[in-house]
Structure formats: C-alpha cells, structure tokens
C-alpha cells in the first residue's frame, strides 16, 4: 500500500499543476467565504453567525464544496489523463505493476489529497471560528463537527467521479468537458427534465450522483433553509438530502465509480 502511494507521490511531487491546484484550493476557500458573507440574504436566515462556531463548519464547508469540485476534480483528471497522453500508464504496467495496483496507487493518492483537503478545512474552520466567536463554548465548537468526515467523503466523491471519467475518456480536455457538462447540464436535465416526466414529480430528484455528493456539505442547513425559502417563495430550494441519506448514497455512487474504473481498466488495451 505504502509502496503504491509513494509511486504516485514520486510522479506528482515534480508536477507543477499539482502544486498550483492545491494552492488554488486553499486560497479559494477564503474569497468564497467573503462572497457568501456579502450575499444579500434575508435577515431571518440569521447569517451573521456564519463565521462563528458551530455555523462555520457548514459555511466553510460549502465554500470548500466549490473549490473541491473545481480544483481537486481537475487535479484528479490531470493526474490520470496525463498517464495516457504520455503513455506512461502502459510503461508503468510494462515495468511490472498490475492494472489493479496502478489504479489502487491513484485511488490512494486521491484519498490522501481528500484527507489533506479536509485538514485544510478543519484548520481554517478553527481559525475563523476562534477569531469570530465572542464566547467560545466547547460544546458549540463540536456541535456540527459531523461535517468534517462528510467533507472528506465529498472530496473523495468528486475526485473519484473525475477519476472514472478520466479512465474512460483518457483525454484531458474531453474529460474536463465531460466532467463540467455532466454536473451542469446532464444531471440537471436528468433531475429537472427526465425525472419529473418519469415519476410525475420532482420528489426524489436529489438522489442523483453528483447532487448526493454535493449535499454532503450543502448550502443551507435545514432550519435556515426553510426560513430563507419561505422568504424567496421557492419550495424546491428546500429539498436537501438528510445527512445519512447523503452519506449512504454518496458511498454507493463512489463504489460504482471505482468499480467502473477497475472494470474499464481491466478489459481495455493501453
């Protein structure tokens, strides 16, 4: 295991886009927070507490949701498609690792990046929390800490989806296009076009893969969401998967992404 993780590290440590994307991920958490803080949302939503414990976990998490989707998703695509365009995937296999080991090496690295990204989230969370919370009460700090493992699952979810697309498509430009098109176009069509037509309503249209992963660390928390939704008159806004649903469905989807990656890699020529 360690041998395989080290292999990916040897490949990535000299790869400049890797460093750039990680730095972009870290710095993008901050401005996204700032933007959210200036958004014109209703008073009743009580957004003045977003930099305080425990709300900071969800708000920072939501900022990280976007950063992860873009920067870490792109990282997963580049680190995988490069191996096909440089033809180093075939060279790696010829040098003596198996396809299973090759995929495991990448997935271990993706898992490590997810853990690192979560650490950044936790550190920034504590930092913002302690600075902005006037009376720090230990119980309040830990109240919503369940967002931390969910954040890690979210990172791994986005990256494993990007990884699967890369194994399938192999070309970086096309894989990035497919990644963006899937989440912004295809899944939207599935959820808002096909789903209501098939099932007669929008109920249950949040169980689609990328939405389930997104809802691990969703935009609003339930109570506030209700308030905000009432004031903007949009009931659809309200529907967010509950925590356990998001975890369950994301885990199943991640399992499928990994299974498909192995299946494709094992049966195709390199």
């Amino acid at each position: 295991m360690l041998h395989l993780l080290q292999l990916e590290w040897l490949k990535m440590r000299h790869y400049r886009p890797f460093k750039v994307l990680i730095i972009l991920y870290i710095v993008s958490l901050l401005p996204l927070l700032m933007i959210i803080s200036t958004m014109d949302l209703p008073e009743e939503a009580g957004l003045d507490s977003i930099f305080m414990f425990p709300d900071i976990w969800l708000w920072l998490g939501y900022a990280g949701n976007w950063s992860t989707f873009f920067f870490l998703g792109f990282l997963a695509i580049l680190m995988t498609t490069n191996e096909f365009s440089y033809r180093t995937a075939r060279q790696n296999i010829m040098c003596g690792i198996t396809r299973t080991e090759w995929l495991t090496s990448k997935l271990l690295f993706i898992l490590s990046v997810s853990i690192f990204a979560t650490l950044v989230y936790v550190i920034l969370g504590f930092l913002f929390g302690f600075i902005n919370t006037d009376y720090v009460v230990t119980q309040r700090i830990t109240e919503q800490m369940y967002y931390i493992p969910r954040y890690c699952l979210m990172c791994f979810g986005y990256m494993s989806f990007a990884f699967m697309l890369s194994i399938w498509i192999r070309r970086s430009g096309l894989a990035i296009l497919a990644y963006l098109t899937y989440i912004f176009v295809i899944e939207m069509i599935l959820r808002y076009g096909l789903h209501p037509r098939l099932f007669g309503s929008r109920d249950g249209n949040r169980y689609y893969p990328l939405n389930a992963i997104e809802d691990l660390v969703h935009f609003f928390d339930y109570k506030r969401l209700q308030l905000a939704a009432d004031s903007v008159q949009s009931k659809d806004f309200v529907k967010v998967l509950s925590g356990w649903e998001a975890v369950l469905f994301s885990s199943v989807y991640i399992g499928i992404f990994i299974f498909v990656s192995f299946w494709l890699m094992k049966r195709r020529d390199l």
Binding site: H3, Q6, L7, L10, K11, H14, Y15, R16, Y86, R87, T88, R90, Q91, N92, I93, M94, C95, G96, I97, T98, R267, R268, D269, L270
Partner: protein
C-alpha cells in the same frame, strides 16, 4: 538452453483486421532475437500482448518457463514503440520512478546515465530532450534492475544517422553482456547486423524463423559460365542438388543449390564432365533478398 519467452497461437483482431494471426514463437536465453516485418505487420501488437498492455483474443504466452506474469515483467526492460516517460521530470527523476515500480532499491542511475551518454544532461527535463536522447534515456530505463531480458521495438525509428549509430552501438554493448534481447524492426540491415536469430512476420503471420546465419546461408546462388554453355546447362540439369537454373543474358547461368554444397562441388562436377568453367561466382543471398522473397510467399519456413 532455457526458454525466455514461449508464444503459442497468439492472436489479436481489430475489427475485421487480424493484426496477429496464430503466432508461435520460442526465444531462448542469450539470443538476440529480431522480429522482422514491414510496417503494420503486427510486431508492436505482439510485444504489447506479451507485456500485458494489449489483450489477446486467443493464444498463450509464458515468460521464463511460466513464472507469474507480473514478476516476469519486473525482470524485463521494455522500450515499446516510443520512449514513454514523464516530460516534466528530468532523467534522474524518471529513472527513479521506474526503479520504484521495479522495486529496485539502489539503482545505478549514474552508471546507466553514463552508459547512454546522458549524464551531463541528467537534470534537464525529458521534454527538452531530442528524440535520440529520449530513446537513449528509455534504454537506460529498460536497463534498471539489471533485467534478464530486454525488448526494443523499432529502437532506431525516426533517428538521424548519428542517433541510429549510437543506439545500435548501445544495443550491441547490451547484447555483449549476454542478455536476451528481443528487437522488433522493419529494417533488414539492422536485424542482420545486431541479431543472432530472426522471425520474419507479415500481416500478423509468421513466415520464417531461424538463426540469421541459417536464413542467409540457405539456398546459395551461384553464377556460372563455360565455353559450351548448353553442355554445362545439360549436366547441371541432371544433378539432384542443383535447383533453379536460369540464364543471365547469353553467357551466364544462375543456379541455386542446397546450402551444404558450395562452389567446389559445382567445379568438381564440371571437371568430371570435361567442361572448363570460365566463370564461377558465389552470390550469397543477403537477408534482404531472402526477406523480400519470403514476404512474397506466404508459407512458413523453418531453417
């Protein structure tokens, strides 16, 4: 002699095209084995299959008498088609990745880089290398961990004459270390110069195998003439060891005969019949003529 690679009935189809067609091959330890065939004859596909990057449709292969394939691959250095290395890494970093995969803990990176004459440029990124340098670095990569066998697929393809000479020299030096080398090439001259054995393939089919010497020596051609050319032709026609007889112009004949019989035999034959030869020249066939003949005639020969 122990077998390094044994291939049985190996087949690969791309749609309606059969790129490799029921190929059988045996490569023994210490051989420098050329796989010779025109472009598109299935050389790369064959080597890709035995290195597990291309899935065969039928057939089997085994390395080193049948050890687990992934262990076998760690004992083989491969340069398939193009040098496949990370463009953003320098020579040393690239070789370290290969050493890591092969679990070679103390690779002699400096030694290998000196061998391929890249030591001075070792910190420049692979991206900045010329094709010849890339090819040489890939050869250094193939040599990591002191492999038992090496695969070189078209190692001089696209190089300038100087690059070709360097790479051929390098392969010659590796062969001198006693390593088994499998080299695919479409260039006869290259196979003739470097290899001890050769398999000739065309359209994915094996046309001939054997030692380079045997293939070259078989079916010797002799040019011959005498005062009385018709009498000469008559006695040659009666002899069981002499094959094709054809006229070259008015005064010369070209004959082919089994490779166990040479010019002395023909001379003695004429002498017995009181014919004085005015011309007797051994036209040993180059592998080239042989190659061209074999690739026109789709029947497997074993020498």
């Amino acid at each position: 002699m122990s077998t390094v690679l044994n291939i049985q009935n190996l087949t690969k189809r791309y749609g309606s095209l059969t790129a490799v067609d029921s190929l059988d091959l045996d490569i023994e330890r210490g051989q420098v084995y050329g796989i010779l065939g025109p472009n598109g004859s299935g050389k790369t596909t064959t080597l890709g299959m035995v290195m597990d990057i291309i899935k065969p449709d039928a057939g089997d292969y085994n390395w080193f008498g049948g050890i687990a394939v992934k262990d076998a691959r760690k004992r083989i250095g491969t340069l398939l088609e193009t040098p496949n290395l990370y463009p953003y890494m320098n020579a040393v970093q690239n070789l370290k990745v290969i050493a890591h995969i092969k679990k070679v803990s103390d690779p002699d990176i400096d030694g290998l880089l000196k061998m391929v004459n890249l030591h001075q440029r070792r910190t420049a990124p692979f991206r900045a290398y010329s094709l010849g340098m890339r090819q040489r670095l890939a050869i250094a990569g193939a040599m990591i961990g002191d492999p038992d066998a090496l695969i070189f697929d078209e190692p001089t393809n696209g190089l300038d004459p100087e690059g070709i000479a360097e790479v051929r020299d390098l392969i010659g030096r590796i062969a001198d270390q006693g390593k088994t080398i499998i080299m695919a090439s479409h260039i006869l001259d290259e196979v003739e110069k470097i290899c001890s054995h050769v398999a000739i393939i065309k359209n994915g089919q094996l046309l001939a195998t054997g030692s380079v010497g045997a293939i070259m020596d078989s079916d010797i051609t002799i040019e011959i003439s005498a005062e009385d050319i018709n009498a000469l032709k008559y006695i040659l026609e009666q002899d069981e060891h002499i094959g094709n007889i054809s006229n070259i112009g008015q005064e010369k004949l070209s004959i082919s005969l089994d490779n166990d019989y040479g010019t002395a035999y023909v001379n003695a034959l004429a002498f017995r019949h009181n014919i004085t030869l005015t011309h007797l020249v051994l036209k040993q066939k180059s592998l080239e003529t042989e190659f061209l003949e074999i690739t026109r005639n789709p029947q497997t020969k074993t020498y």
